[in-house]
């Protein structure tokens, strides 16, 4: 098992008066794709937002790449190398596709621009609409842009929240191919309700329920375990 790039230990998060995460502990291995599964309201998205510092942890520790980040502000977490793709095709709608990419490159470098050529091979539409506002793209194109944008950002870890939400099945198949390409370059933590996508992309899994991790293991084992699969849906 490769070393962990991200470790959460006993993380508690409150949203107003609601106690959302109630002691989440998990580890994401470097170079692999870890999937967080569970029913709605289990705390999957909040876990990602807590790592990112958008809904800070009230207790517990979050260690990324050997550095404690539970008190860090979101911009500091991003600059440390964590990319975040929120749900709902989170592009900057009033900016062009080009501007979305250039914002993601915190430091514009020839390497970052070279990555765009790879992205254009994966998502040809993004090149076509290069100078169009991101708000006019279709749902699938927006999701592609959100993921591709995270890719040019040169992140050590990508947190991706429900990328298949609201997408047509044919687009989901394209998304699976691109996520599999992406995981060759970086570590991914994926929150996903679509088990087909999760099983095709994920290497490891954690099942959350009521703000706690209730099960974890290798995705391959989960695929073979019908009973557990039902409980994770």
């Amino acid at each position: 098992m490769p070393e962990a790039i991200l470790s959460l230990a006993g993380v508690h998060t409150h949203l107003g008066q609601h106690h959302i995460l109630q002691g989440v502990s998990l580890e994401a291995a470097r170079g692999r794709a870890t999937v967080l599964l569970g029913r709605n309201g289990a705390g999957k998205s909040t876990t990602l937002r807590t790592v990112m510092g958008l809904t800070p942890a009230s207790a517990g520790s979050v260690v990324f790449d050997g550095r404690a980040i539970e008190k860090a502000r979101p911009y500091a977490v991003a600059r440390a190398g964590v990319g975040f793709v929120p749900e709902d095709q989170a592009v900057l709608r009033g900016l062009t596709v080009e501007e979305n990419f250039r914002l993601a490159m915190l430091q514009e470098s020839p390497e970052a621009w070279a990555k765009l050529d790879t992205i254009f091979e994966l998502f040809a539409d993004l090149k076509k609409f290069w100078r169009a506002k991101a708000g006019v793209l279709s749902g699938g194109q927006k999701q592609m842009l959100a993921i591709a944008r995270a890719f040019v950002g040169d992140h050590k870890l990508l947190l991706i929240d429900e990328p298949s939400k609201g997408l047509a099945p044919i687009v989901v198949d394209h998304l699976i191919a691109s996520l599999n390409q992406l995981k060759q370059h970086t570590t991914i933590i994926l929150v996903e309700q679509n088990f087909h996508l999760a099983s095709q992309v994920g290497s490891d899994y954690f099942i959350l329920d009521d703000g706690r991790v209730v099960h974890s293991g290798l995705m391959k084992a989960l695929v073979d375990d019908e009973g557990l699969k039902q409980s994770s849906a």
């Binding site: 991003a78 600059r79 975040f84 900057l92 709608r93 009033g94 006019v136 950002g153």
Partner: protein, 369 residues
């Protein structure tokens, strides 16, 4: 990389660079600049020159307000105040310096920039972390405080009488340098060209600013603050930067305005109507466009200058129709109707709406309905 075929990104960037100097927008800008340079010689009317000078100054002031409101999404009511601080910097330094010299103008410009930067940093640092409405209220209070200060601190500002002053050397209204190609070269003309040069430089600076990486971050903050911060940008710092830069440019516009009038008083450069005018101009021109400032300023200033003349026109056209004359007397009502029409036909401002239409046409060409 030498000898290799260009990548898709490189090809797209090369295409954009090649089109830079042949785009209609660039050619329109060149034509406009040529008109501004040749205007006083081709049409030697003080009234027109006065109108054009004010349009230039307000176009830049409105564009600088657009950086704050249109690009960063911050509602500030202190933009007029910064304009006034710049105007009073020039007026007071020139008024109290005897004899006034060229370096006093430079000093006044630096002072205007420094004071506005410090005040903008203090206001931003104290209130930009909180809700937008609180920032708006703080700026309104500070602007009104400065307006009152302009009246009350009469030992310095001469209260409501205002400060009149003379400009140094060739910029003095009494200076005359003979004629060139039939045009009188005098202090007013040289101040006009000084305003033209400074306004163009400031405007180019504003355009470069919004197209720079900082400008992109500001647009991202306006679009979605949380996404901008999750991309790794310190939103608060960028907001402060935007407010300080916009306010600083506004104060320099105020300095130019004072130079043009050689007179300031609290109502003309610190009053609420000035702020409302800037707000109207930016809405008419289009938020988040920068170039909209030119159209907004031109619309309001032309309307302010020419609509009162409708009274004379109505009298000559319909000497016996009392209704028409009374309507022309109430030109401010016509101004209101023009404003409503402009908002109805150009909901995102003139430039914003035209850009949207161009975008729709371009997307249709790309196959998106």
């Amino acid at each position: 990389m030498t000898g290799q075929a260009p990548t898709p990104v490189q090809m797209e960037r090369q295409r954009q660079r090649a089109r830079r100097y042949t785009r209609p927008g660039f050619l329109i800008q060149l034509a406009l600049l040529a008109c501004l340079v040749a205007g006083p010689m081709l049409m030697p009317s003080f009234r027109v020159m006065d109108l054009v000078a004010k349009i230039m100054i307000f176009a830049v002031a409105v564009a600088s307000f657009d950086i704050i409101l249109g690009y960063t999404g911050i509602i500030s009511f202190a933009h007029g105040m910064f304009f006034g601080l710049g105007a009073y910097s020039v007026a007071l330094i020139c008024h109290y310096s005897q004899p006034v010299q060229y370096h006093h103008l430079l000093l006044a410009g630096l002072l205007a920039a420094l004071i506005s930067a410090v005040v903008a940093v203090v206001i931003s640092a104290l209130s930009l972390r909180v809700k937008a409405i609180f920032f708006a209220m703080v700026t309104l209070a500070v602007a009104e405080f400065c307006h009152i200060l302009g009246y009350q601190w009469s030992s310095l500002t001469k209260g409501e009488d205002g400060v009149s002053f003379k400009l140094p050397g060739v910029f003095n209204a009494d200076w005359s340098g003979g004629s060139l190609w039939g045009t009188q070269i005098n202090g007013r003309l040289l101040v006009y060209y000084l305003i033209l040069v400074v306004a163009v430089l400031l405007f180019v600076g504003l355009v470069r600013f919004v197209r720079s990486p900082v400008g992109r971050v500001l647009k991202a903050i306006r679009d979605n603050e949380q996404r901008a911060t999750a991309l790794g940008y310190r939103v608060f710092r960028y907001r402060v930067l935007s407010t300080v830069f916009g306010s600083l440019v506004s104060s320099l516009c105020g300095a130019l305005f004072a130079m043009w009038l050689s007179y300031v008083n609290p109502d003309t450069v610190l009053g609420t109507p000035l702020m409302l005018n800037i707000l109207l101009m930016v809405i008419i021109g289009g938020l988040g466009t920068v170039y909209g400032g030119i159209l907004g300023a031109a619309f309001i200033k032309i309307a302010e200058t020419w609509l009162p003349d409708l009274q004379k026109l109505a009298l000559s056209l319909w000497p016996k129709v009392e209704f028409m004359q009374r309507l022309a007397e109430r030109w401010i009502l016509l101004f209101g109707i023009l404003y409503i029409l402009s908002v109805l036909f150009f909901p995102k401002g003139v430039v914003g709406t035209l850009r949207d239409r161009a975008e729709v046409r371009r997307l249709r060409r790309l196959g998106r309905p």
